[in-house]
């Protein structure tokens, strides 16, 4: 797998992507700022959200066992999956048991994370994405979502028109008008909603005390998937559990304003087990660990599990706005992806992502549950270096620098050496050349100031000392 820096270099060369990202993130930032600005007690609400998540995580095992008991009491069945493979196998087995070789899917990060669609395909089961953007990504063979909320943010409408014409039945003459495109997708999806017997969803939240599971969405296609099929299988990361129903209220205030920049999202579907004669008569909740317990063991990094997948941090991130989501090489891109991906993989992948940030802190400012992303990024940089050995050259350079700074004489000698070393390269106080080595990237687009004749401390000794 190529690292972030190389992947980003490729993405940055795509003017269409840059334009799409700038337009989309600028629009949604403004929408979020407007609806957050009208809530006087927004900061208190964020504190409440953070508190809910801290309570949930502090006693996770208890809440999960309570959730299992509540769901079971309400007529559902709970399954525990240690990792992606176990979760996929459970969904495949349940689909087969329901006598189906197709599933319709609600947009879900957890099922993207575990690669469910590919795993089902290997078992001969076809998964149909029903979220419009997820459908677009799925129809474009080999494409991947690039944003948590807006998975097809990297595509424009003429690309989507061409894709629909080539892949959807009866769409050979569709135009690039968004209404036409939505209509073509609707005709295709309605048939699936009415014929496929198994629905698969993720969950934004699940309430331990009642066993209620919830999905928050805009299109209504999610509601189709959670109500029309005979069987509903929900795959949920264990960190999504909320202790009480009142906690859900806080989250439903925070999420839409942070996510789509709406006061309230169009569709909030809540279901508790099975209701005779209404909706799916067979409900399964798959509780997914996949690195979450390991993440919980890190007292600093664990706060990443508080994430409610609103994507506000992506939309304000100056790195994400330029590279897009694909550069992160993960289901979870942007600032939250940079702290989740390496932790969920137990530092087996995405270990360069903690460096894919200038530590500007814009993400922390907007996070509805106050995850201190910059501090966790710094913390994870340290863990990656300690636990995977890091970069030998850099670590030697840092050590040398630390030794230099540890003694005044060495430090002052280094100042002189820097001045002398830069002399042959400087002109008019500047280094305008492109230098090799670690300064290559810097001098490719920027000049460097040459160290001046007199350091500050020399001036001080001469004038004030």
């Amino acid at each position: 797998m190529t690292g972030f820096a190389d992947a980003a270099r490729e993405e940055l060369r795509n003017p269409q992507l840059r334009r799409n990202l700038r337009k989309a993130t600028t629009t949604i930032r403004a929408k979020r700022a407007a609806v957050v600005g009208e809530v006087d007690e927004w900061e208190a609400l964020r504190d409440a959200g953070e508190n809910v998540k801290q309570r949930a995580m502090a006693d996770l095992a208890t809440h999960l066992e309570q959730l299992e008991a509540s769901v079971t009491r309400a007529g559902g069945t709970v399954h525990w999956a240690r990792d992606a493979a176990e979760a996929c196998a459970i969904v495949a087995r349940l689909t087969r048991a329901a006598g189906s070789d197709e599933v319709i899917k609600v947009k879900s990060m957890a099922t993207d994370e575990i690669g469910l669609n590919d795993a089902l395909a290997l078992q001969g089961i076809t998964a149909h994405e029903t979220d419009l953007a997820e459908l677009i990504v799925q129809l474009a063979d080999g494409d991947r979502p690039s944003h948590i909320l807006v998975p097809a943010i990297h595509r424009n409408r003429s690309e989507i028109r061409d894709l629909f014409r080539a892949t959807l039945p009866d769409a050979a003459t569709v135009s690039d008008d968004p209404r036409d495109l939505a209509e073509a997708a609707r005709r295709y999806l309605r048939e699936k909603f009415l014929s496929v017997k198994v629905g698969v969803s993720g969950a934004n939240f699940a309430v331990a005390e009642t066993g209620t599971v919830g999905v928050v969405e805009s299109e209504g296609n999610g509601r189709m998937c959670t109500t029309l099929p005979d069987t509903l299988i929900t795959v949920m990361g264990i960190e999504k559990v909320l202790p009480t129903f009142a906690d859900l209220g806080i989250m439903l205030e925070l999420l839409p304003r942070s996510s789509t920049g709406e006061r309230m999202n169009p569709y909030t579907s809540l279901w508790t087990g099975v209701t005779p004669g209404d909706g799916p008569q067979d409900f399964h909740l798959v509780l997914l660990d996949a690195g979450r317990t390991a993440t919980l063991a890190d007292p600093v990094g664990r706060d990443a599990l508080h994430c409610i997948r609103c994507s506000a941090c992506l939309n304000v991130c100056p790195v994400f706005e330029r590279t897009g989501g694909h550069a992160y090489g993960s289901t979870y891109p942007g600032p939250i992806g940079a702290i989740l991906t390496p932790q969920l993989s137990e530092l087996k992948s995405g270990t360069d992502l903690p460096w894919a940030s200038s530590l500007c802190g814009a993400c922390y400012e907007v996070c509805p549950v106050k995850i201190d992303i910059p501090s966790i990024l710094v913390h994870l940089r340290g863990r990656v270096i300690r636990e995977t050995g890091g970069h030998k050259g850099e670590s030697l350079a840092m050590e040398a620098l630390a030794r230099t700074f540890a003694h005044r004489r060495r430090y002052e000698a280094a100042q002189k050496a820097a001045r002398l070393g830069a002399l042959p390269l400087s002109k008019d106080g500047r280094i305008e050349r492109r230098l090799p080595g670690p300064l290559k990237g810097w001098t490719a687009v920027r000049d460097l100031p040459a160290p001046p004749k007199q350091s500050f401390r020399d001036w001080w000794r001469e004038n004030r000392g």
Partner: protein, 244 residues
Amino acid sequence: MEVALFITCVNDTLFPQTGRATVELLERLGCTVRFPLEQTCCGQIHGNSGYGHQALPLVRRFVKAFGEYEHVVCPSGSCAAMVHEQYERLARESGDMGLLREVEALVPRVHEVSLFITDVLGVEDVGAYYPHRVTYHPTCHALRIEQVGDAPLRLLRAVRGIDLVELPQATTCCGFGGTFAVKNAETSAAMLSDKLAAVQQTGAEVCTALDNSCLMHIGGGLSRIQAGARPVHLVEILSSVEGA
């Protein structure tokens, strides 16, 4: 009032004019400035890059150099932020409770320079004269960790002769980010190009900020594209007087 100047290694080595300006400005405002020569680097490079354990000796060094002073003033938002945000954690992780106590006592006495002037000295008009078109870039750590708010703008607005123009998308990061500018050079360059465009859009001849490391990045870009605008640290504007 006696203040110790925490100059930062970047300013000491590359931007002595910022140090001189800070001394002159604080003296003009009635302070007696001290400069503990034992200071070197606050350890931000190590702390932010994942080498926090190597920053620890620098934390001890900082405490030794500045521990005796009532006020420590720093002309860098990010170095002040390093002290404010990471020192207590590093001291606590070291298990040295004596060091932790010393750090806890010292950290609140360390001030980013613009906040020191507005909040400790209680001054907004520092008597400066600067007849140039200037735009202000709020650096991320000054803005989001030091929480300088509009203190720098209040100081600039009081400067005589200044033509202060607002920077579009001002609070967006310029793309410096320490080693980020080297490790993710292309992404950093993409962020820089948007910042340069914003600076040029203002028609300013001077782009000012509270951190010379960010200004080195913005200024290096401005100079490379011959933009006709230059970086100047905010204290250098505040220290300028008529006839000087």
